[in-house]
Symmetry: D2
Subunit: 350 residues, 4 copies
């Protein structure tokens, strides 16, 4: 497959995450949007007509006039990005994978299946190999690769260097999540203006479960859970974009604050080694200011593809505590999925 020929389809292209896929794929050096698929209601319209564009940058010129096609496994594409809601993903993604498409999905539908890789490129690129298993076991010609939940992605990126260097024993996390994490229309303004909602459905379960699979080891047959404990408190706050998470960790090997900070600062992974186009130069950015990171200032560090960490200090109960911030719909959703596809492409899996 020549670089300039990777044709990509976005399934669920008119929703908030679908729009983010479209925005990030416009002008992509390797990928070219060849199809935009959505529900029947949108079929036959142009993307401009079908889509209530909710992103701050204008809709890319190149997609404005594209016809919206049905989400059926005959789209003109080499790769499919799925921005479908979970229930639809459960129904449609297997059809695409079965028909031979590599599917890079942002949906949670298959994340927890034993033969479906749940990948953050800097954390567990080797899990991508699981697709061979998946093709065999399911008899598919294509495959599904999933990315992690938005709040999980940033937590796990910050945990990875600590786990590698010192071994994680326990992780406490409390999140303050942006409304864009709930999609569009998502959270009613009456519910969140001047308010905190200390509950997001299934979010705590995802935060307590996904990192263990992602940080687990894959032996060619199955993933062995990373084997530490996570306790999560998930909250919605009146912020538009950017999830802030406060984290405490207990390590297996004791470490000094400087060692903690260095491990985070120096962390690199395969995307950086391979120079993938969407890879942040620093997947984890460490700030030294006493009151940072903040969504207002630090959301777009590394184009929204990094996890920003600050306030590293000792924890009276576990060992260390810190704050992290990440863009929930860029690295935490569409951007993470695109990076997965770039990795697969670079490794010859497409």
């Amino acid at each position: 497959m020549k670089e300039d020929t990777v044709k990509v389809a976005v399934i669920g292209a008119t929703g908030a995450v679908g729009q983010r896929f479209v925005q990030l794929l416009a002008n992509h050096p390797w990928f070219r949007i060849s199809a935009l698929a959505a529900s029947e209601r949108s079929t036959g319209k142009t993307y401009t007509e079908a889509c209530n564009w909710v992103l701050e940058t204008p809709m890319p010129e190149e997609v404005r006039g594209m016809p919206v096609v049905p989400a059926e496994p005959n789209v003109d594409a080499d790769v499919v990005f799925s921005a479908l809601p979970a229930e639809l993903a459960r129904e449609l993604e297997p059809k695409f994978a079965g028909a031979g498409y590599p599917v890079f999905s942002n949906a949670s539908a298959f994340r927890y299946e034993k033969d479906v890789p749940l990948v953050i490129t800097e954390v567990n690129p080797d899990h991508m190999q699981m697709v061979e298993l998946q093709k065999r076991s399911r008899g598919w010609k294509g495959f599904i690769v999933t990315n992690a939940n938005c709040s999980t992605t940033h937590l796990t990126l910050a945990l990875k260097p600590l786990h590698d260097a010192f071994g994680l024993d326990a992780v406490f996390v409390a999140t303050m999540q942006a409304v864009s994490g709930a999609g569009y229309p998502g959270v009613p303004s009456m519910d969140i203006l001047g308010n905190v909602i200390p509950y997001i459905g299934k979010e705590e379960w995802k935060l307590e479960t996904e990192p263990l699979k992602i940080l687990g080891s894959f032996d060619g047959e199955r993933v062995r859970s990373a084997g530490f404990s996570i306790s999560a408190h998930a909250n919605r706050v009146p912020v538009k974009d950017g999830h802030t998470e406060v984290v405490s960790v207990r390590l297996k090997t004791k470490a000094s604050p400087k060692e903690i900070e260095r491990a985070l600062r120096e962390f690199k992974g395969e995307p950086q080694a391979l120079g993938l186009p969407s890879a942040p130069s620093r997947p984890v950015v460490v700030m030294g200011e006493p009151d940072r990171p903040q969504p207002r200032f630090d959301l777009m560090v590394e184009n929204g593809m990094a996890t920003v960490v600050g306030r590293i200090r000792e924890c009276p109960i576990l060992d260390y505590k810190f704050v992290l911030l990440g863009h929930n719909t860029i690295r935490g959703a569409a951007g993470g999925s695109i990076l997965n596809a770039e990795l697969a492409f670079a490794k010859g899996l497409l």
Copy 2:
């Protein structure tokens, strides 16, 4: 002292906390505002002229025309409520206490002194006896009783029944605090609109320190720290009033969720037994809804004098986790101090 003759002065009456004192003391069945004191700039003006009233309910009629007097220990009052900032409190409160006034202070200046009671009426009413020690050791005719920091107050109210019933071993807390906690003008709107600030100066230290004194035991000479660990993450969110806190606790004695809930629900203290006028009928209110408490709905439960707890569930790292919400400038500031004074009055300490 006859009930109808308790004359109270508010020192620092024009600031945000001072206004809350004035609001809560208007129409008080036992106390009558006899003096409003503030800085020189305000002296000689009426309260209406001196005060940029920031509360939502109108300024009480009875104080509108009152002259603002200097904050000097010759005010016409039986009791003094201090709404001073910490630095001024450190200078002025001893003058009032030295001159014979019982001072009920919302300032942090003396909270951590060995002979100054730090009191939440339902938690450690016996610590109030410490004033005798204080008078002796300092040679004062009056005394200072302090209340706790706003976020500490609500955390400690929720911890008390658990500590009594099961013994606390470790407490993790992450706060999402309202802007009114920073006073007025306080947090600039440019800093907090659509943002989270993951840092509040000294707040984490207060949260990790104050509960241990308040829940400690007083043997007549000194307070022995409650002796468990607390780890705090303090955050500012774009909410006007009401601090939300997510909490995980490890207990010394194992307990079932039902036992936890019952301990919280059935908790009562001296203010309830004595029927103090500002006492909530339930100091801790437990909600069963999956997404509550929320500032928008639950802030004024028990007139803002209770701590509202919800989402009690198991914690994968410690034993249990829950959410709590409390009004930061009512129970967490002026209301807490007034309740302290009511207790002192009921016990004959005034």
Copy 3:
């Protein structure tokens, strides 16, 4: 009909406006909720089960266990309050009116019909007589009385005393409207957090049309339009409750600022004369502070049943300009409708 026997049904009881009806009717001295009707989806459930309660005060005890019944013209009630959306109202309200129910509707469906009164009790109580015409022309045993759009209600309350005293010639209004005006879920948080939306569908047309009918004269057969010009700019702002409107007026008879202010201040109508239970003592409240009214402070003046006016000053183009604020879901919706029913009851129309 004895006062204590007026049984009222709320149709569309589970929506945001329906809830406000329920809240305001609980403990009403004349009316007692006898039925709560909603769509099929809710039928058979209790009100608690069917309703996602969005108001800040708790759901009234008395309705919690009430069964939700179908919105069919056999409900057990003397009077029907309609909180239906416009399309449903157009279909269902005639069925109720036809079957003999007096219907007090918050919907816009019939507001502009020639034989349907559009009533603000202090402004055009005489238009209520139009129901006789309506019954005749439509062959109904019952009737429909509508209240005005939320932003219209408060504008018209402020215009009425000026029109009576000086004659209106032209009115310019720009609104800054709260999100609760769009119901629930209504405005997505992604659309309005930190934003202004300078457009609300049909709102400008309503503002430019409804006051002319309400302030028009009814000669027993038809309403003659008040005959002045209105230009409206409608905007949505990130405020939860309370519409702010800036207004400029040109008068037919010149008046001094004092005369303007006095006309507003001294304004009273039939509800005040009759002492209707929901009537504000002052339908228009005038404030003198340079920066008021504001939603934060002045929303609940007269229990949300008044229009609050401030900053009366000369206008370089028209004659005078001022700011007004009103509660959009109390006086501007359910409360206005209830007051209409109280007036009808007091006048023997029920």
Copy 4:
């Protein structure tokens, strides 16, 4: 003066507007920051140390280590940009102008003086000639050129093409202004979270006065006022950046909606003709969507240097109405002043 040698100083460099000057001047093709001046408190510190940076993009590398110098007329610079507050500007700007510096000021202190140009480059570039008069009358070697108030700037940019083509007779404007317009710390969060403040000190006077000078004609001796009426309602809303204004205009020559739109769309001025580096390619951008412009989407059109207009439609009282949006601290403050300096430079006035 060679292009690459224009050294510019920013006076009042640590405040919010000063920071915007610094941000926009970094990497400027013609200007190079040679001095950053501020109050004594900051003198001797580096810019990083002296400045609480409030902008979302990081502080430019090149200024981080620059020493902050006193605001005295001996700075090493060819041109001075003044971001001083009005009172300080009144005192200091004449000293700089007297000492021979061309001063481009964002302060209001001298805007209304007869011999001081108040310039919007696309509107009244010829007024810049007034500096010769100023130098003569005041005996200064340098001069002061001012830019307009933030809300005035965008209103006037939209009015200019209409005034040129059709003649303005009356203008009604109601603003919804962002908090950044009040500087930093500026508006307390307690005042504006979920609120509207229908008052901004002096803002209405500025809106009713400044456009008449800017749109007036300069005959070499004095400016003759543009001679139409403006009525302004100024409001603060909880938006961080971007002033939205709703406008109605009465024209002297009748025009069709298409003519109105074309006049706005096709408008160009000297900055466009001269290709000034900060000039927007379109000073007025017209949008056709029914609900635009909105701060969330349209703030950074033309890098924040344009006025965005939408919803052009007929007005029942005046002739036409529309909505406009502009960036208040870019085009409305520092960016406007920089463009003034670019024009002066291009015309050989420096």
